[in-house]
């Protein structure tokens, strides 16, 4: 193979780029406008409206078109203005006042006003949205004193801290003038999005791609840099890796490439593996336990299971180091609430066996104490692999685990509706505040059929009390303290066992700039993303 000067230069650039972190790379050169960024997409949601479906699959495409009131940033108070420029809660927790950005218009040319926010909140977030139904359930009314001001009025004191933390994920604003006629759930704008964002929705060819194009009238002057973003539907993970190598796509987010391929891809000239940019959507690997099973209702048995798991091994072998061990419900990234001094349930097989003996479960004739049905969640490679690991880890302390594999629908029904499991492997998401999708894993009295919630049969008056008090604690210090107590109780009772917290990886060509520069990057606006020549 002949070596050309250009190749050598490209190699040198790649080396320099590798030496500089992804965040610092942006400063190397001045941003350049133009270009088409093609990225991999592995799903095509049936409803693409983030005001109704707040999920990562939807945000990945929709967050470039439809904007939230605020977005997460690293540092500072953690929030950056998007459609709202200021937010303030009243001391009694009854009102939150937002000041909206001036000079914003919808992609169809109509002006963006407070009426759009009020409509989105009352007609979509509160009654329809998967997460908003919980967080905004006590939202009584939204006042619009003028076109730039919105006042949320809650019927019971609602912590401003929670409302604030919910802004990036739960507060996407859609245009009132397109949604106030007909059924919202079947509105065509749920698939052909109209928003205020840096990109306009241009085209969806089912099974092939989504195409977004630059919004020339975007409120932030000079942005976005990219002319187009194309989401190429690539259902096969091997094909995604091949397409990156062949430079037919420039970026794949959400660990779309198998972890085992990452090391190899990271060595391909011109490709970078970027672990940042997902802290705001941290997933947790958990062991879910059915307390209806009498052996498992004993806290000593649950503690024994926790001691049987070698978290370091799990992180190093299953996640290839791209995760952190965890032993509580709040991930370490959330400095606001995370507790570092939780009771330790480190890897200790002898202790596990002693606890099981103490619980009156001696090893029987076949060397086993009792047997359990183990249902690993099918959605991640790692949840399935951890199922295989857990089976062996439990056997080592005398618990015979039989794995039952299901597809997503069957798994969801078995665990969260029928309770037909003894132990399951779960992967709940921590969404920036314990009240959004974390306390639901601990509170009792939820009806059957609520996915990713306490369907474990765990009921603790102390736990319920803490959750209830925190739900209406308007003083942030008091609320934080309550959630810190909750973490301690969770680590003592161990209704479910946290094993690791993990985020995703982005694999991108080194020509893509400003990648992973905020904690929800893949699900944020990409207005400042650009392509170097």
């Amino acid at each position: 193979m002949a070596l050309h000067r250009r190749d050598i230069l490209a190699g040198a650039t790649a080396l320099t780029a590798a030496a500089i972190s992804s965040k610092a790379r942006a400063q190397v050169a001045a941003p350049r406008s133009g270009g088409i960024l093609t990225v991999a997409a592995d799903t095509e949601p049936r409803n693409l409206n983030p005001a109704i479906v707040a999920s990562n699959g939807v945000f990945y495409v929709a967050s470039k078109v439809i904007e939230p009131l605020a977005e997460m940033i690293d540092g500072g108070d953690g929030l950056a203005p998007r459609l709202a420029t200021r937010w303030e809660g009243s001391p009694d927790g009854r009102n939150v006042t937002f000041t909206l950005r001036d000079g914003v218009s919808w992609h169809d040319g109509k002006p963006f006003t407070s009426a759009d926010v009020a409509f989105s909140a009352m007609r979509l977030w509160k009654p329809l949205q998967n997460l908003g139904r919980i967080v905004f359930k006590n939202l009584e009314a939204v006042d619009t004193p003028d076109a730039r001001t919105v006042v949320f009025r809650f019927s019971v004191p609602t912590p401003f801290q929670l409302v604030r933390n919910a802004l990036p994920g739960l507060a996407s604003v859609v245009p009132k003038h397109l949604y106030d006629v007909g059924d919202i759930a079947t509105n065509p704008a749920n698939m052909r999005l109209i928003g205020t964002g840096p990109f306009r929705f241009a085209e969806h060819r089912p099974g092939e791609f989504y195409r977004l194009e630059k919004n020339p009238a975007y409120w932030e002057a000079g942005r976005p840099y990219l002319d187009q973003i194309i989401y190429r539907v690539l259902p096969d993970r091997g094909a995604i890796a091949a397409a990156l190598e062949a430079n037919q796509i420039q970026l794949a987010a959400f660990s779309a490439v198998p972890l085992a391929d990452m090391e190899r891809l990271g060595k391909v000239p011109g490709i970078a593996v970027i672990p940042q940019g997902y802290d705001g959507i941290t997933y947790q690997l958990t062991v879910e336990i059915n307390h209806r099973r009498k052996e498992l209702a004993d806290a000593r048995v649950r503690r024994a299971i926790a001691h049987a798991i070698d978290r370091k091994f799990v992180v190093d072998t299953i996640f290839l180091g791209y995760a952190k061990p965890s032993n509580g419900p709040v991930p370490a990234f959330d400095k606001q609430f995370h507790r570092t001094d939780l009771p330790d349930s480190g890897f200790d097989r002898r202790r596990a066996e002693a606890l099981l003996d103490e619980a009156g479960l001696p090893r029987g004739g076949n060397g086993m104490r009792f047997s359990v049905r183990l249902l690993p969640a099918p959605w991640f490679e790692q949840t399935r692999q951890f199922g295989d690991y857990l089976r062996q880890a439990l056997r080592a302390v005398g618990i015979d685990a039989q794995i039952a594999n299901n597809d997503p629908a069957a798994h969801l029904k078995a665990v969260y509706t029928d309770h037909a499991f003894d132990i399951a492997i779960g992967s709940p998401v921590y969404r920036n505040d314990p009240a959004i999708s974390t306390t639901i894993l601990y509170e009792s009295g939820l009806p059957a059929g609520v996915p990713f919630s306490n369907q474990y049969g765990y009921a603790s008056p102390a736990m319920d009390g803490l959750i209830r008090r925190a739900a209406s604690a308007v003083d942030p210090a008091e609320r934080t303290a309550l959630y810190r107590d909750m973490q301690t109780l969770a680590a003592t009772d161990l209704p479910l066992i946290h094993v690791a917290e993990f985020t995703f990886l982005t694999v991108a060509r080194r020509t893509v700039m400003n990648v992973a520069n905020n904690p929800r990057w893949a699900t944020s606006h990409w207005a400042d993303t650009w392509l170097s020549a």
Partner: protein, 326 residues
Amino acid sequence: MTRVLRLLALRALSAIPTLLIVAFGAFMLLEFAPGDAVDAYLAQTGGDAGFAAELRRSLGLGGTFAERLAGFLVSLATLDLGQSVVFARPVASVIAERLPNTLLLMASTTLFAAGIGLGLGMLAGRRPSSLADHGISTAALVLLAIPNFWLGLLLVVGLAVSWPLFPVAGIRSLTTTGGPAVALLDLLHHLVLPTLALGAGYIALYLRTLRAGMVEAWQSDHVRAARARGLSESSVLRRGVVRPALLPSLVVAGQNIGTLVGGSVVVETLFSIPGMGRLAFEAVTGRDTALLVGVVMSATLMVLAINLVVDLAMAWVDPRLGAIDG
């Protein structure tokens, strides 16, 4: 001509029970699968009890088995494929999008596999047990043994990544400029690797069938008679050996094409081609009964149509077939 018409009428009548059985089977399959469309959807989004209940209500999934069965029978009777839950669109429009891609892949695979397979089969069957025959037959066995997902991956790595002659994925370029001729070339360019991956195994099938038929024909009395009449070796080969041996190859072709219209989940996924195989897979994981019934019924219709074409072709090749009472 009456022979053809009778065949058509008979086939059309017998198609009805086949379609009904197949549709009912697809319906029951998802009825008995654990979890429904809302469970499949909630796995991606989460949501509280009210969210799930509202979804079930709006998708019409709330009822009892009897109610769903009644709904299914009504839609069947009115020939209404209904609404897809996974795609939130009419089933017919989803299928209309996917079917052409699968038909294209089917056509290119069949042409490729039959062309190469029959050609090599003729070479092998010309002189059974010759060196050429052994070489070709062994190669065919190897082709038959290669799994298509593995071959597909190798083709991608070799001919799309390391030596980028062909696109990695898709059925056409994302942005096409130029006229229909450019679009056609683009399409063919995209079809090469999936066709190779899917067709390799079928080459062996055509080859082996034709070769076996030829081996048998060489032994037959009509070949001996033809030789005795002093016909040249090449016309004996053409008329006495290849022609009768083509009949079983046609049957094999019919069966293979039938399998191919169902789509190949593996090859369609690997090459990101939105076709019927992937659609059926998505319908099952999404517990989308209407879509699965639609996919299965349209595939069945295609298979029946292809069988009919094959029968007509056979009748043309071999005038003895269907000639009773004629």
